[in-house]
């Protein structure tokens, strides 16, 4: 850098980075328009987010009152008799016999996202290694771009492929192999039993993993590129093999960045809607019997049930979905905050494209 060292303190230098509109000279209408409009624009995400959370909360309030804290642990999903009488609970009108529980949905959301992580993290790390350390530049660059593109494939298209091609293929050729050969011991017996038609927990998890791989892999690749080569070369000069350099130098160097990207991918998986709605089997009210069993997630339930919730004249079905949305929003806000704090502490983070 050829910036001449002046007598200004470092605080002054950082203050000079921007355009400093508060100069006395900036009285021109254009200057004031830039300032006013950009100031207004930057508040819009905050205002929008606050509005969304407030609307959700008010819409969910009747459901929160009726469902109570037991909502989080109940497994029922009865919409009640829509043509029968109307019950009053805590002053809220609900259809006779309506009884909702969120536990299978919360569990399904977490289960499918955890499966996605188990699949995506090793594959992303391996891909990032192959792209940064192994392959020559002329092939690594287009492949890296290809992996980035994957994040932008619409989730309905992935769902279409998962539902019509991948799911049926796996349930016909892969799942039976696993289900018939896994020993009947406590943890592994979850992998035994009826494998279904390809719609279910494992297919959802695999599809979600496929969707978050680009996010984790692209971030990890950028992180690996930031690792300086001197320590790696030094380690190799000391006789480290490639695998030992990876395990002892490269990964520890950017570990928290990888953790952050992973949590970010987890957040995406939690909120993913369309693909899961298409490959999960969309069964409310009970947990998957085994890892192949049909299930659903919070997001998929909202998208598939919103239509039919209009038929509930008391509006309780709609309020119930708002409460689900609120739960999902809280989970994803917590997860995202965790990821952003971890990432921002370590590296200049580039938000990957593609979203839940």
């Amino acid at each position: 850098m050829s910036v001449p060292v002046s007598s200004t303190s470092s605080g002054d230098v950082s203050a000079r980075r921007g355009l400093r509109p508060r100069r006395a000279a900036s009285r021109h209408w254009e200057d004031r328009l830039w300032l006013a409009s950009s100031r207004a624009a930057v508040t819009i995400p905050l205002v929008g987010l606050t509005f969304v959370v407030i609307v959700l909360f008010f819409k969910a309030w009747p459901a929160i009152q009726v469902n109570g804290p037991g909502y989080l642990s109940r497994s029922t999903w009865q919409i009640g008799n829509l043509y029968g009488g109307i019950q009053h609970i805590h002053g809220v009108e609900i259809p006779q016999g309506a009884n909702y529980g969120a536990w299978p949905l919360i569990a399904g959301t977490l289960q499918s996202s955890v499966i996605a992580l188990i699949v995506a993290v090793p594959l992303s790390l391996g891909t990032a290694f192959a792209l940064t350390e192994r392959l020559p530049r002329w092939i690594a660059q287009p492949l890296g771009f290809f992996v980035e593109i994957l994040a932008a494939i619409p989730s309905v298209v992935i769902g279409l492929w998962g539902g019509l091609v991948l799911g049926p293929f796996l349930s016909a050729h892969v799942y039976p192999l696993v289900a018939n050969h896994v020993p009947n011991v406590p943890v592994l017996n979850y992998f035994r039993g009826y494998v279904g038609q390809g719609e279910g927990l494992l297919t959802s998890g695999l599809i979600l993993g496929f969707m978050i791989i680009p996010i984790i892999a692209a971030t990890t690749r950028d992180l690996f590129n930031q690792v300086p080569s001197l320590p790696k070369e030094g380690a190799e000069a000391l006789g480290f093999t490639e695998a030992e350099v990876a395990r002892r130098i490269t990964i520890p160097w950017v570990r928290s960045g990888i953790v952050g990207a992973t949590i970010l991918g987890f957040g995406r998986a939690l909120g993913e809607t369309m693909a899961v709605a298409m490959v999960s089997g969309s069964i409310q009210g009970h947990l998957a019997n085994n890892i192949y069993g049909t299930m659903t997630t919070i997001a998929a339930t909202i998208v598939t049930q919103l239509d039919s919730s209009f038929t509930d004249a008391t509006g309780f079905a709609l309020a119930n979905l708002a409460e689900l949305g609120l739960i999902l929003a809280v989970i994803s806000i917590l997860v995202n905050f965790g990821a952003r704090t971890i990432v921002s502490r370590t590296s200049k983070y580039r938000a990957p494209l593609g979203r839940a």
């Binding site: 254009e30 624009a41 509005f51 192994r134 771009f145 492929w161 539902g163």
Partner: protein, 296 residues
């Protein structure tokens, strides 16, 4: 640090592990790239044999027809998001890079604003769609309409545009701004003619990425834009609008082959649109890197 404990391990074993590691990384790459290629091939193989150009020029009719309404509708939505979300996002990025004030410790203010942008970037899109439906379509009596769809989608992509704009502006050297100021340029003039002009490739890339998200979005549109088999109009409220992802979502498990073809046709058009957007943005990046000063 453990480094001493490996002394006794035989070289052959360590070399074997290195080979295994190398094989595993290639295997991982294969498992990532392979399914993706299969997906592209599958969509193309299902769509192209039954492809007819009338898909582009007719509207859905019964169990067949075309996708003209959806293609035009998607373009209208893209344009609207560019107008609404693009303006908001770029202006917000300008604020965060240029105008944000510094507190007494020399740190930048606006932490809450940044946090809200980060949270919004990871917010579940279906929840935004739900709120758009409840608050805009029902609460404000707009019905399924272009405007409620645009507001929800814009809110969704603003974080991405803001991030891209801020990053692009921060890469503009401070000396440019100082030079402009030394020449006596007004703040607005130097922002327009110097800073934004230099950062333009980065900003356009961000906008294109946001457009690619817009094209592929389904969940927030289902209950804000509704669906219409008619051609899109420019009416903002009380008029549903069609879009491509809807036909993938509704037609994929219908028992009519003609609808399956429509579903795959819509997928193919979506993939082509998104690939075009991403390739153009990549070209802009590489061009601007070639013309930029060294060391950027």
């Amino acid at each position: 640090m453990s480094g001493v404990d490996t002394v006794r391990v035989s070289t052959a074993w360590r070399r074997g592990k290195a080979h295994g590691f190398r094989a595993l990384t290639y295997l991982a790459l294969l498992f990532v790239v392979g399914p993706a290629i299969l997906l592209f091939v599958n969509v193309a193989a299902q769509a192209i044999p039954h492809w007819s150009w009338s898909v582009l020029t007719t509207v859905p009719l019964g169990n067949g027809g075309g996708l003209e309404n959806a293609i035009l509708g998607t373009l209208v939505i893209m344009f609207g998001v560019l107008l609404l979300g693009g303006t908001t996002g770029v202006l917000a990025g300008i604020f965060l890079s240029e105008f944000v004030s510094v507190n007494r410790k020399g740190k930048e203010r606006g932490g809450v604003l940044r946090a809200s942008i980060d949270v919004l970037a990871g917010f579940p899109s279906i929840v935004l769609g739900y709120v758009g439906y409840v608050a805009l379509a029902v609460g404000l009596h707009w019905g399924f309409s272009l405007l409620s769809a645009l507001i929800v989608l814009s809110l969704m992509v603003v974080p991405y545009i803001t991030k891209a704009t801020e990053t692009a502006l921060r890469q503009v050297p401070t000396t440019y701004r100082e030079g402009a100021e030394a020449l006596g340029m007004r703040m607005g003039y130097s922002l327009r003619k110097v800073t934004l002009k230099t950062a333009l490739p980065g900003i356009v890339t961000g906008l294109l990425l946001a457009e690619s998200i817009t094209v592929g979005e389904t969940a927030p549109l289902l209950y804000t834009a509704g669906i219409s088999n008619g051609l899109p109009t420019w009416q903002l409220v009380h008029q549903p609008i069609g879009y491509l992802t809807y036909y993938v979502w509704t037609d994929w498990n219908q028992p009519f082959p003609s609808l399956h073809y429509l579903s795959y046709d819509a997928s193919l058009i979506l993939l082509v649109m998104i690939l075009t957007l991403l390739v153009v943005s990549r070209l802009i990046v590489s061009r601007s890197q070639r013309h930029s000063e060294s060391g950027r």
